[in-house]
Symmetry: C2
Subunit: 422 residues, 2 copies
């Protein structure tokens, strides 16, 4: 590419090496990429000792800094966890190869053969927080799809990530691939993220995975194309024609089965025509599950003393906790209007026995996933049968919803003729 070359820095040098590695990776057959992944899985198990030792540094530093024990737990690597990570890599090996898939093909009227085939994106930058297992997951998915990867984990996992990337690079090289196909972005400072975001022409896409503020920063400041992931202000709408038992089950599951993840529900909207029957049952079930309801006037009336008053902030909040915002709406259209105003565009569910209502809700709601009589918790690459997930895109360009291996590719057209001219 002829874009003006930015000045050299350690981060940009890393990106340049990734670009060169990507050119080597792109034409490699599946067998070569799979061999590298198997070498990674073996090496992770063999070198568990070194990884655990490096991780212990991060864990000790986190404890010293007074980090919450739940975060320390997510940071911690044990031999069992490393074995599980290695097993995940072996599962990626077994997935279908996205590279080379013919997406579209035809013979044009003039006899030219046209094929559109999947090719790797090139260099993928992943910016992520805390969990060091993402280091291996992301590298495995990028390698499987023929891409070079630049990993920028959190400073608090730097020792763990360095040790893991050493293992990955050695394994990749032992399988005959360029070690620079997997690189840790050097430096623990915020500036290194900034340089990555401006490495347009060297990095093909950035995928931020983590909290809303990280994602917002990358989306707003990056000149490299970004895939926005993961913020989930998800809604459950209980229609007038809902089966109430089903609605209670779906609501509680959507909210409380695992509240800390992006596909957990954050707001329940109930049709006015069914509110009198449903609200007491919902309140009982939610309370039993340990959920605090932040409700509008109708909800407060239904559960005096049980329901905290909701404000606009509640409609906008991704709690990621045992809290839920709750409102009664006059009809389906009002539910859709509420969702359109407040959603992050991740997942919205409707519970209804009415085919017309299901159809209308599905047409009007503009989010990555619309669930009909199913929990919001199903929006997930594993649940969707993709076998792997690099994140859940909440943008409309390139990829939307759970992203598997095909979403880590681009395409190119191949036109074959016998001397065709115009």
């Amino acid at each position: 590419m002829t874009s003006s070359a930015p000045q050299s820095t350690p981060v940009l040098e890393t990106a340049r090496r990734a670009r060169e590695a990507a050119a080597v990776l792109a034409p490699l057959p599946r067998t070569a990429r799979d061999a590298a992944l198997l070498a990674i899985a073996d090496a992770l198990v063999e070198r568990t000792g070194a990884i655990v030792a490096a991780n212990a540094e991060d864990v000790a530093a986190a404890r010293e800094a007074g980090t919450a024990e739940s975060v320390v737990d997510r940071l911690t690597l044990t031999p069992e966890r490393i074995a599980a990570i290695a097993a995940d890599v072996r599962q990626v090996v077994a997935l279908p190869d996205p590279v080379g898939e013919v997406v579209r093909g035809s013979t044009l009227p003039n006899g030219l053969d046209l094929r559109q085939v999947r090719v790797p994106l090139g260099v993928i930058g992943i910016i992520y927080e805390a969990r060091p297992n993402v280091t291996v997951d992301a590298a495995a998915l990028c390698l499987k799809s023929g891409n070079a990867v630049l990993l920028r984990g959190s400073a608090s996992a730097y020792a763990s990530n360095s040790a893991l990337v050493d293992v990955l690079r050695d394994a990749v090289q032992s399988a005959g691939l360029p070690a620079d196909a997997v690189q840790l972005v050097p430096g623990r400072s915020r500036e290194s993220v900034g340089e990555l975001m401006r490495a347009r022409g060297l990095v093909d896409v950035l995928i931020p995975r983590g909290g809303a503020s990280l994602i917002r920063t990358v989306v707003e400041e990056s000149t490299v194309p970004v895939i926005e992931t993961g913020t989930g202000n998800c809604h459950v709408y209980v229609d007038e024609a809902a089966d109430l038992d089903m609605a209670v089950d779906i609501l509680v599951n959507s909210k409380a089965q695992r509240p800390s993840v992006c596909n957990a529900a954050e707001t329940v909207l109930v049709h006015a025509g069914i509110a009198e029957k449903f609200l007491p049952r919902a309140l009982e079930a939610l309370t039993q599950a340990g959920v605090i309801v932040h409700g509008d006037a109708a909800w407060q009336q239904a559960g005096p003393g049980l329901v905290a008053p909701a404000t606009d902030e509640d409609w906008a909040t991704e709690y990621l906790s045992y809290d839920i915002a709750a409102a009664v709406v006059p009809d389906l259209e009002a539910a859709v209007a509420h969702i359109r105003r407040w959603t992050s565009g991740h997942t919205e569910a409707i519970v209804t026995t009415s085919q017309a209502a299901a159809r209308r809700f599905t047409q009007l709601v503009d989010s990555t996933t619309v669930a009909v009589n199913a929990s919001t918790r199903f929006t997930d690459g594993g649940q969707f049968g993709f076998g792997a997930e690099i994140g859940i895109s909440t943008q409309k360009l390139h990829a939307r919803g759970p992203m598997g291996l095909p979403e880590l590719t681009s395409t190119k057209y191949i036109v074959t003729g016998d001397g065709h001219t115009r």
Copy 2:
């Protein structure tokens, strides 16, 4: 969306109205969208007088400003040209509807039905130069694919574009769709482009169409996702095993059939093993076609006095004129290396009788289109059989190569169960 609302300006108000119109458009069936397009085609013909009168203002101002006659010609609308534009709109009506297409579908192991369906992107902003026919083309393709469109043409075509958009809006409204589905971005100043580029959350994608500097500005400054289009530094590589007659035909056609467009060739690379035979023939044919060759030492030697010396600037230049850069390379890999260094990633052609060379070139070249024994001029939505083209994406994300109607859509997942929970 919950992104912090930017302050109100005329441009942002336009974008907000587009967003509302997009919500109305998205669930409409094809018949409603097609009816609006047919109304547009009729109205363009009926109101030709008003359009031509407005266009005359732009043309007079352009002449007064000393604009080149070729640019004035592209700006000019005549009754015949308007009739042709209307006919193009009718052709868009006949194209398959991308909206609602099921891209992927399966029943998951737990019985959930999963479908991924195409949906409109929402609000599309098109930033373009000079030619007022783009106003109608772009609006027609956006409407056909269920999107609202914000049109930002060049200041020099403002009167023409205003008249055209008036006609489009009236026609859209007469067909029962919201007039705000088609809007001209108010103001002729550069600032209005800047506001559009920062309208993240209101505008879903910006597509700049025009010169390299316009595209670069939008790509670098926009916080709205951008699809980069159209810069074409295309190469023809003549392999050692090329059929020389075919190579001459393809080279001359790629360069000279229409030099002003992005899929015209700008550089020819010739394998050293065939240079002695090929260079004289190529020089003769190119010279006959009025092409000036900017060559390396080997080309200069082959055509003393005929060949201007090439510098790095020539390898980097998209001439868009009867000029071509020319080099001799030791082998196919060197040709690929040259292309990788200098290409804009649009289209590269190889001429060869060798299956191995064709395969290798196709694997190694990373551009939107690789042509084997065919002119670079085929990279075009019309030629590819898409029936329409909104531009040629030279980026890897979302769309790559000629973009037709499917590229103006996103997707959403619909998950249907019977009360499924995790």
